[in-house]
Assembly symmetry: C2
Homo-oligomer: 338 residues x 2
Amino acid sequence: MNIIVDAMGGDYAPEAVVKGCVSAAKDFDINLTFVGVKEKIQAVLQNCNYEREKITVVHTSEVIDGDDDPTVAIRQKKDSSMRVGLKMLAGGEGDAFVCAGNTGALIAGATLIVKRIKGIRRVALAPIMPSETGCFLLVDAGANAECTPSFLKQFAIMGSIYMEKIMGIRNPRVSLVNIGSEEAKGTPLVVDTHKALKEVPFHYCGYIEARDIPKGDADVVVCDGFTGNVILKFMEGMGMVFYDMLKEIFYKNIVTKLSAVAVKGGLKKLKKTMDYTEYGGAPLLGVSKPVVKAHGSSNEKAFYHAIRQAVMCVKSNLVDEITDNIQKYGDDPRKETR
Amino acid sequence: MNIIVDAMGGDYAPEAVVKGCVSAAKDFDINLTFVGVKEKIQAVLQNCNYEREKITVVHTSEVIDGDDDPTVAIRQKKDSSMRVGLKMLAGGEGDAFVCAGNTGALIAGATLIVKRIKGIRRVALAPIMPSETGCFLLVDAGANAECTPSFLKQFAIMGSIYMEKIMGIRNPRVSLVNIGSEEAKGTPLVVDTHKALKEVPFHYCGYIEARDIPKGDADVVVCDGFTGNVILKFMEGMGMVFYDMLKEIFYKNIVTKLSAVAVKGGLKKLKKTMDYTEYGGAPLLGVSKPVVKAHGSSNEKAFYHAIRQAVMCVKSNLVDEITDNIQKYGDDPRKETR
């Protein structure tokens, strides 16, 4: 198996990318292809212990930045690490692609270059999020600000397959975000999706209110990309505020600092529970080959887990599973034309 | 000044309602009219110390429950405390109405019975939410799952006036929830509202990403009611999960329990920071007389603050302020017909 990696994506590229991925490659016994500025990648590799024949470096001269306009950048930066990596994936030179770069560009590039699975209407960004009792998949977290019921139905199917095949959760509980639990409550989008999801032979549990998401009441949380992005970022923001406040409490004086020592283990566990790096990145569901979006602020550990995730996607034939199920259940009877 | 109170609304009615409101009435030197089951109200009043002539009790035989269908209940339960209270407000028998009952029924009832301010397209639910640096107004938090740019524009205007007049924040920072900071990002609703808000002479600061909301980067956070309800409930859920985890950490053993004592003050402050009861309830913005929705789980303190809030609305002529500003700036040039 060969995983292609955009060595230039993310806040700590290429150092954290190369180190984290090489470490994972050894553990999972796979090959890697790093795409990016050769000298920079080689400089990091020099300090890594690895089998030379298992790692390839492909030089590219351009980088897509976080500030770049996604669709413009992916079309115009022809020699960017992201675009070249996606081209290689599409051309069969690797089995999966891992990238921590510009999210919009990656979604646009994966759709344009690697293409969607046949029958899939939209590619979804589906991060694994921490909850009190484990984790859940949020789909869509921002790839599609506007959705139709058939998009959401497909997101639910893909999310369920992902949580079962990759995260090992049997019969994942799939829920649809709504602002109440009554049947008729919510927008037409939600009400129509609810009807459509009842017809699908997955474990659809109905509506979930946002209050119950952090508790871990669902394994797959389905919503439009606007709502999903708000949830993703609000969770991030709340987490940061909580930590700031706790830090302030414990750093106050010598007594509080001592008490911090006593609960150190517990606080560490709390932090770990709320730590996305444990789970790797966000798969782009619906692309015809596995593409994993690592968080922009990914450290070595996060890249390690993103590689693990990509390996799991390849090994479990995720794309074939999705293709089969979308053919069977993913088509909307009303044949939306959007 | 006379504030009408639905004595039967909320989880701890009528005890917490009556006690909290009586205590506030004494401090702010106002009259109260409790609407609800007379014997139950009188039973609580017996244990309260108050001036008899300042408190009136109006007997009603019905109660609108949390599970009732809002529009059906408000039309059919003619002798419910909520409906009778709203009728009295509309008829001029009081200056404001405070109620912790069924939110949907209260919004429907306020719109049908008390009516909207002239020119206002939709009534918005606008809770005061805690942030790291203070508090912010979330508008709309669920009254309108679907919105148009002109609804949101009016929400922004009303929210700004509320934060200035009631919360004493000079020139409140008004922001619009979006999933990115680029001009063209987001749904057509958001992009069009952004354009409209730039024309209004309030302190409009542009888009806010959900990540920056808990930090307190805006005083008025504007969004459609679906998004707002997700934010409101997600914050509630995250808070609960966080407390559960902290509790677990500190209750582990004798050493951690001792360390909890050292940081007790800090944790209490943290809890207070995240405590909605400090701020009272959510005003229903756009109604032609002040209506305050107290949280369903309001305790005495929350009712105290809800009364304080209602008193402030009356004293500051909030409704007149909104009326004037909506006449000047609230009309959408494109004259939406919805």
